[in-house]
């Protein structure tokens, strides 16, 4: 592989990427020719079960929402990681157990931290 | 390496740091640590001396500070005969001055500060004399200068003291400039800064020349004279002597230690240490001798008429230092160092005696307001008398032997200026005796001329001050006995002791000549004493009449040949006028602005503009960084 090395194993990914882009773009573009387009004032207002909107819909979310979301992601990843671990557990033996104990132990510290700091309480 | 060699600089350094940092809390007890440290140093110095007497000399590098190829700067110690003598002088005087200061500085604010500076000075001076290379010599040289500056300006609230400190500092810069050029030239010539290597190669540079701006100089002469520049500044020789009398603004113990016994003699030490370099150039030796001779006479004449007790002694110091240079100039280095040794004791004694008088007189320094102090200050009186006799060259006392050694060496020297040196030396011996006894009589004899209040306060100093006086008096009497010339029945062990470093004078005089020389110098001294007795004891009205008879001469001498005014008029004021008139008015400030302020200002305003980019906006930052990144990538692309 002198100088002009091309990662040929990834050609499929590239093709996939290109197809994805073309497909997405084409769908939107072709849709323009078939859809109806008749806008008027009422139709352009936000739909809230028939009531006229009382305030701007762009109010900030509570920061706690993000906090919970992040905690969710962290522990979700932990759960997901357990699957492949369980699959190869027989091959790796006690080493795997120790490794996973450490991994979960680290997350446990994080969990205790979040708990004590009140990150899990919504109203505080 | 023996441990005492390491302890010598470390003890005072540690004492300086601890006292400086924590001395304030100790209050009036702050002197204990420095005194213990310096006393231990004296013990170490004695051990060093004993080792050297037993034939041990040490030349060792402690470690290499900077090393890069051929450029080596090391910290190392050289212990030989010369160092041992200097160690004894420095530590013994320093110890006594420390003890004396307990009494003298008793009521001063900043008591701890004073002692910490003294320790700093002791450390610097020991580094100076212990070093085995020029870099360390230079370090010690600057460090003693710094501690001298701090101590002269000790009463920094007093404007004159602060100015005197600055003056000492600035005047010394002139000398040190030449000195550092000399050291650089030594390195360029020999490729090393170690004494032993430099001196071993010294002979190889005879007849070499060195071009400076198209002019060709004799290399050995150039090196020797540049080094001598430093000595002129530090040892207050003409024309850089002006700082020393002003330095008397510092506390009197400082004058005794730094401005009489040790630091100012560093110049003599330098010339003696570098004798293999000076020996290469007859021109340099002649210059050294002549500078010594002129300064000697010059300072002695000024001392004749001064009325400030400390200034008389200060000019006497300048004059005595000049004796040492004359000795070095005529090649009698060991005689020079011998005079350094004896002078340290009798001059320190004179200064401390002055201090005791000033202490008793409630800080009065004008001898015209003293008189008749003999009965109030008996210890001070008798010790002062011994010191005065010693400096006047009365046979049997320290000053006699060392002065005689110098005069004999000068007379026998093959150097052209030798005979001049001898003549001046003998003449000044008489003048020295005269002004010393004048001071003595004015202070201790006659009637008291001060105020009633001062008379009421008169008291002998406490034991912490009188004991050092007595010990120094022992030194002032006996220091000379180490070098009793053969003609007087001794065998001058001093000369043979120092011979390995300083060489032995080659010329020997006939007995008759030697007796003649001794008789002449003693005679000059006796005439001086007799004149002083006549003028200030028997017929005290004569001095006034003399002054009225030759008002010009008196005012000339009294104003120290107006050298200060000359410098002020010729250098300082023109510099100020030039910058004011020419630069400020003629160029309307633009040039000064341009030169002095312009560059920082230009940089500053450039910075201000650059600073605008740092406006706190993340997008600005990111765009600058992106531009930079782009530039890097483009460079990588084109290469």
């Amino acid at each position: 592989m002198p100088g002009n090395y091309l990662p040929s194993e990834y050609t499929a990914v590239l093709v996939m990427l290109i197809f994805g882009l073309i497909f997405g773009g084409m769908t939107l573009w072709i849709g323009r020719f078939f859809r109806l387009r008749r806008p008027y004032a009422e139709k352009l207002t936000a739909y809230e079960s028939g009531n006229p909107p009382s305030k701007s819909p762009r109010f900030p979310f509570s920061v706690k929402f993000y906090l919970v979301a992040i905690l969710f992601v962290v522990f979700d990843v932990e759960a997901i990681f357990l699957y492949p671990w369980a699959v190869v557990y027989d091959d790796l033996g006690s080493f795997a157990l120790i490794e996973m104990t450490i991994f979960i132990g680290l997350l446990l510290v994080g969990y205790i931290y979040a708990w004590k700091k009140g990150a899990l309480k919504w109203d505080r | 390496m023996p441990i005492y060699l390491l302890l010598l600089p470390i003890l005072p350094l540690g004492s300086f740091i601890l006292t400086f940092l924590f001395g304030k809390r100790l209050g009036r007890k702050a002197h204990w640590l420095p005194i213990c440290a310096v006393l231990s140093c004296f013990g170490c110095a004695v051990m060093a001396l004993l080792d050297v007497i037993n034939g041990v000399t040490i030349n060792t590098d402690l470690y290499s500070w900077i090393s890069s190829g051929s450029f080596q700067v090391s910290v190392g110690f050289l212990l030989d005969e010369l160092t041992a003598v200097m160690l004894i002088v420095v530590t013994s005087i320093s110890t006594l001055v420390h003890i004396y200061s307990v009494g003298y500085m008793h009521d001063e604010p900043g008591y701890y500060r004073f002692f910490s500076y003294l320790s700093l000075f002791t450390f610097s001076m020991l580094m100076l004399v212990l070093g085995n290379n020029f870099a360390q010599l230079f370090f010690g040289w600057e460090a003693v200068g710094l501690s001298s500056y701090l101590l002269i300006g000790f009463y920094y609230e007093k404007e004159s003291a602060a100015n005197a400190g600055k003056k000492a500092f600035i005047v010394n810069r002139f000398g040190d400039f030449g000195f550092s050029l000399g050291i650089i030239l030594v390195f360029l010539t020999f490729g090393t800064l170690h004494y032993d290597q430099v001196f071993a190669q010294a002979a190889s540079i005879t007849d070499q020349t060195f071009p400076v701006f198209g002019m060709v100089f004799d290399l050995p002469t150039l090196i020797a004279l540049l080094l001598f520049c430093g000595a002129i500044g530090k040892s207050a020789q003409l024309p850089l002597h002006v700082w020393l009398p002003d330095a008397m603004e510092g506390p009197t113990p400082v004058s005794a230690l730094i401005h009489a016994a040790t630091m100012v003699t560093a110049g003599v030490f330098l010339v003696a240490r570098c004798n293999p370099l000076f020996a290469l150039s007859t021109t340099a030796l002649n210059v050294v001798t002549m500078v010594g001779a002129v300064t000697c006479l010059f300072a002695a004449t000024i001392a004749l008429v001064q009325v400030d007790i400390k200034r008389v002694v200060a000019y006497s110091t300048v004059s005595q230092l000049a004796y040492m240079f004359m000795a070095c100039g005529v090649g009698a280095y060991s005689a020079g160092i011998f005079h350094l040794f004896t002078h340290a004791y009798f001059k320190a004694l004179l200064f401390l005696g002055c201090g005791s008088v000033i202490h008793a007189m409630s800080s009065e320094q004008d001898v015209r307001k003293m008189g008749g102090l003999k009965k109030y200050l008996p210890v001070t009186y008798w010790t002062f008398l011994l010191a005065t006799l010693s400096i006047s060259g009365i046979p049997g006392l320290a000053g006699f032997f060392s002065k005689d050694a110098i005069l004999a060496a000068a007379f026998s020297s093959p150097i052209g200026a030798g005979k001049i040196a001898w003549f001046v030396g003998t003449l000044v011996a008489g003048m020295t005796a005269f002004y010393s006894f004048r001071l003595f009589f004015l202070t201790f004899h006659g009637t008291f001329r001060g105020t009633e209040e001062q008379r009421h306060h008169l008291h002998e100093s406490p034991a912490t001050m009188t004991v050092p006086l007595i010990l120094l008096a022992v030194g002032a009497v006996s220091a000379g006995w180490f070098c009793i010339p053969p003609i007087l029945g001794g065998h001058a062990p001093w000369i043979s002791f120092l011979a390995p470093v300083l060489g032995e004078p080659g010329e020997h005089l006939g007995h008759a000549t030697e007796w003649g020389l001794i008789a002449t110098s003693v005679g000059a001294g006796l005439v001086g004493i007799a004149t002083a007795t006549l003028l200030y004891v028997i017929r005290p009205e004569i001095p006034d009449r003399l002054r009225d008879a030759w008002p010009k001469v008196h005012s000339w001498l009294f104003n120290k040949y107006s050298i200060d005014e000359l410098y002020d008029g010729a250098l300082v004021q023109p510099a100020i006028r030039f910058s004011r008139k020419v630069l400020l008015h003629v160029v309307d400030g633009k040039l000064i602005e341009g030169v002095v302020n312009g560059i920082p200002q230009a940089i500053g305003s450039f910075g201000e503009r650059l600073r605008k980019i740092q406006n706190g906006q993340v997008h600005t930052y990111l765009s600058v960084m992106s531009t930079g990144a782009l530039a890097v990538l483009i460079w990588m692309l084109v290469r």
Partner: protein, 486 residues
Amino acid sequence: MDTAPNFILTPLAPLAPELLLICLGLLLVVVDLFLGEKRHILPWLAALGTLTGLFLLGNGSGHFSDGLFGGMYILDAYSLFFKVICLIGVLFTVMLSVRYLDTEKMHQGEYYSLLVFAAVGMMVMVSAADMIVLYLGLELMALSVYCLVGLLKSDSRSNEAALKYFLMGAFSSGILLYGISLIYGMTGTTDLQLISQRLTELNLADNTLLFIALGMVLIAFSFKVAAAPFHMWAPDAYEGAPTPITAFMSVGPKAASFAVLGRILLSGFPELHVHWGPLIAGIALLTMATGNILAISQTNIKRMLAYSSIAHAGFALLGILATSNEGVSAIMNYMLIYAFMNMGAFAIIIMLNNRERRGEQLKDYRGLAQTNPVAAALMLIFMFSLTGIPPTAGFIGKFYLFLAAMNAGYTGTVIAAVILSAVSAYYYLRVVRYMYMYDSEKGEAVAMSPSLTAALIFAVIGVIGLGVAPGWVLEMASQSLPALAQ
């Protein structure tokens, strides 16, 4: 992966310092939660742990290994040296923090924990022999420091600083990752040794894409060491951060980044010096100029020290430029010296910090020589050292850097560096002038604390000691190098 079994068999004992610090970090977080009012033991715990870490480092210094985790993690004298600098930095920071957190009423267990994690990150960085591990360490360090910068929650400057630092740090991380991935694409490996091999095997020495990749790595690390023009984050982040963290940032992460830069350029791409040399020279010059010139117009001393830190990064780059063992050992020496002198200066700033004045403005230093002569004398020493006046350590540091660059033939750069170094005297000595030449506005005594005193003593001993007896550090530094340069 065929190297998988090695993972399992990797003995963990050589990693004791890193493991200890990870445990310490976790412990600090947990302990803080349950301590309540007894929080003041946290710094002592952190200091004790760091000291133990230093001890373990010294203890393990005989057991070097160049192939932990399948060759991704190496323990050599080079990394050991920088780890010691980092831990000294952490130790200093802990000592500086005790009183600062008190005066700022900022009591958070996370503080010490994040500090320790940043230290772990730096240790991983300097030991990394693989770009991925390197990135891991870098991010661990960077994320911890982002948080530390913004930890003064009630101070808007601190928040702003953290956000800016984070945004720009993310920018540089992205560039670094791009560079790493391109290098991986070219050579098929992220192992630095292998990269160097493949460069010759695959005859990549003229490949433009490779240079772009290398350029990106350089950019990212120029950002980390705050070299111009990638320094823009530094003044704001340094000013806004809690002062001990400012001190920490200018010492620890900078040293670690220089260690990595040295390892990448000298272990990964030594053959390409012809190409990256002039680039580094340009960056060094620009950095020195920017840092020194902008420092002049600052009135906030923290900000001034931020620019001074930029300038010093420029001086240190001269050592990279030299591409020799001499140069790298000069950097190592310099980083150690810089840790001491900068920490000392910051210790004084923190000492002057009290409720009324924050000790950050230049005018706060008026007449310090009268109100607190010892503090003024110490600051004088640190300023002299930063300027590079002998016999302080700063002189030695600069001297060897300049010498190394000089011997490598960059005479012009060195001359510029010397001139800019003279320019720096202007703003450092200005502090001295304020302390000694002006009268104090109000003669208030400065409160001391034992830990701050200890830090100051430690720093001044370092500055004077390394200035008076510099030989052994250099010796150690240069002895650690044959392992690095192949």
